[in-house]
Amino acid sequence: MIPDDLLYTRTHEWLKQEGETALVGITHFAQEQLGDLTFIELPAPGDTIEAGEEMGSIESVKAASEIYAPVDGDVLEINEDLESAPELVNEDPYGEGWLIRIRPSGDLDDLLSPAEYADLVESETE
């Protein structure tokens, strides 16, 4: 469950480039670790996010966790469906469960490749 057309962070977010903009979400591994999600707090369109800084939070039945920005950028759009249906992230973390659309302003070099992320997941699973 690690799509090879995405980039990843060490904190289990993914980023998908689509021309000038990019979609951001959390990985299948992350949603599996969190369990059933109950609430997702996202930044607002117009907000600026900064790589590695907290941009929102996720509550599951177990705990509350932070979501970190994968790169610097501006928030263009948020997935409003998640407000009433946070379980979309559990069901389809790379599709219907996307979190925000951004316009990246920083470079993407620090993000992990699918292969690097696979290694990270493997090391965290051990």
Binding site: T38, F39, E41, A44, S57, E59, A63, A64
Partner: protein, 443 residues
């Protein structure tokens, strides 16, 4: 918990373990300048002597006065059963119901309290309470600031000055701008309040009845707030909420109140009870504990603290509020009061209080020189104007065993001659007659 003093021998042994030779060596890290020079405590007394002394002090209280003091705190009747029930040790000693399997009774009581106040205010959700009505307003403002990401609060000057003072203290070092909209002879200036709401406004804060006792319908203010995507916070008087148009139907987003009127005694400053309710959309911003009802896998009803990810024991830095204690026993007292009275009893308390206020208004304004401050509709409290400073009149009437009311000049400039008079179901027409006669003598 008993008080267990340490014997000199125990102290010696503890000091030995720590490895210092005296108590003063133990506290050597505290600079001498910061240590108390003296505790200035009298010599100890025997238990019997202490009881005698306390009785003497208690006897200095002046009780049994006919009281027309309101101003946010009201002396309604409390059935004797309330005290008996809250004194049960299961309720009296239980503190933190985090361990749901051991706390079902406490959790059920909290859930029922929440349900009762939601019905009273016509709102979706409630928490297990906060310290008092003023704290509830502060927390409500913080909810609005978080939700709207705006920092301007529009506030009616007819909101309790006590609450306004608390709010300005609590927000002193926060990035909050408060706009106070002046009252109009004790009535809330709704047009001016609405006009003050703009795109930067997080919330508008109103009170019903307002501090002057005036009852209003704030639907238009709430609608204006909604147009500007601002929230409406209303502070409501729980007993009168049983008969007035509900805050929920006026379109309020957050409704708070001082729960003292629900059977809590007036005991010189508390403990009081902050009621907080909100719409479903706001529930994740609601601070404090929230008890929920659910079913276990065998279909049995169970109660549990819910939405705890907002709370400080899950995310300290990100917690919605760092108030962790509610006023559990006070909330339970209010809940038992509501259960014993029932909706009918609560309405009866409200109606009796309001009817007596009308009698009082007629009697008092019949005294030469006494007028109503305004002709706005009121509940169980109204403001009158006197031909001389209200402070002096109150002092004169106190001599005759009557607490005549609250002098408005203490909080409102230019209203030195205005007196706020409240009646409850505990007052009698005879007391009102005494007040009227005393007023006539004093003027």
């Amino acid at each position: 918990m008993p008080y267990i003093p340490h014997t000199p021998d125990q102290v010696r042994r503890m000091l030995d373990v720590v490895g210092v030779d005296s108590m003063s060596a133990l506290f050597a890290d505290i600079p001498a300048s910061m240590r108390p020079k003296s505790f200035d405590l009298p010599e100890g007394l025997s238990e019997d002597a202490v009881l005698t002394r306390l009785s003497e002090i208690a006897a200095m209280n002046e009780t049994g006065k006919a009281s027309f003091l309101g101003a946010g705190f009201y002396d309604h009747f409390q059935p004797r059963a309330v005290r008996a029930l809250i004194s049960r040790s299961e309720f009296y000693t239980a503190y933190t119901p985090y361990q749901a399997e051991a706390s079902q009774g406490t959790l059920q009581a909290i859930f029922e309290f929440q349900t009762a106040v939601c019905r009273l205010f016509d709102m979706d959700c409630a928490n297990a309470s906060v310290y008092d009505g003023g704290t509830a307003i502060f927390e409500a403002c913080m909810m609005a600031v978080r939700k709207t990401r705006r920092t301007k609060i529009v506030m009616d000057e007819a909101l309790s000055p006590i609450y306004r003072r608390m709010l300005s203290t609590m927000t002193l070092s926060l990035d909050i701008e408060t706009v106070i909209v002046p009252h109009a002879s004790g009535a809330s200036d709704k047009a001016a309040i609405s006009a003050a709401i703009d795109k930067d406004t997080a919330a508008v804060v109103v009170q019903n009845p307002n501090f002057f006792g005036v009852v209003d319908d704030f639907s238009d203010v709430a609608a204006t707030a909604r147009e500007h995507k601002a929230l409406t916070i209303m502070s409501a008087y729980p007993v009168l909420a049983s008969v007035l148009k509900s805050p929920g139907s006026m379109g309020a987003d957050i409704v708070v109140g001082e729960g003292q009127s629900l059977g809590l005694p007036l005991s010189f400053g508390g403990p009081y009870l902050g009621i907080m309710t909100c719409t479903k959309e706001m529930v994740r911003q609601l601070p404090g504990r929230i008890a929920g009802r659910t079913e276990d896998k065998e279909g049995r009803t169970g109660y549990v603290l819910t939405l705890q990810a907002r709370e400080q024991h899950i995310r300290r830095a990100k917690a919605t509020s760092n108030i962790c204690s509610n006023q559990a026993l006070c909330a339970l007292m209010a809940h038992i009061q509501m259960c014993l009275l029932g909706p009918e009893g609560l309405r009866r308390q409200a109606v009796l209080s309001m009817e007596l206020a009308r009698y009082a208004q007629a009697r008092l304004t019949a005294v030469r020189g006494v007028d109503l401050l305004n002709d706005a509709p009121y509940g169980n409290e109204f403001a009158i104007t006197l031909p001389r400073p209200a402070d002096e009149v109150v002092a004169a009437l106190a001599e005759q065993g009557v607490a005549a009311g609250f002098p408005l000049g203490r909080y409102y400039e230019g209203l030195d001659n205005a007196l706020l008079v409240a009646t409850t179901d505990k007052n009698t027409p005879e007391q009102v007659d005494r007040l009227a006669a005393g007023l006539k003598d004093a003027l």
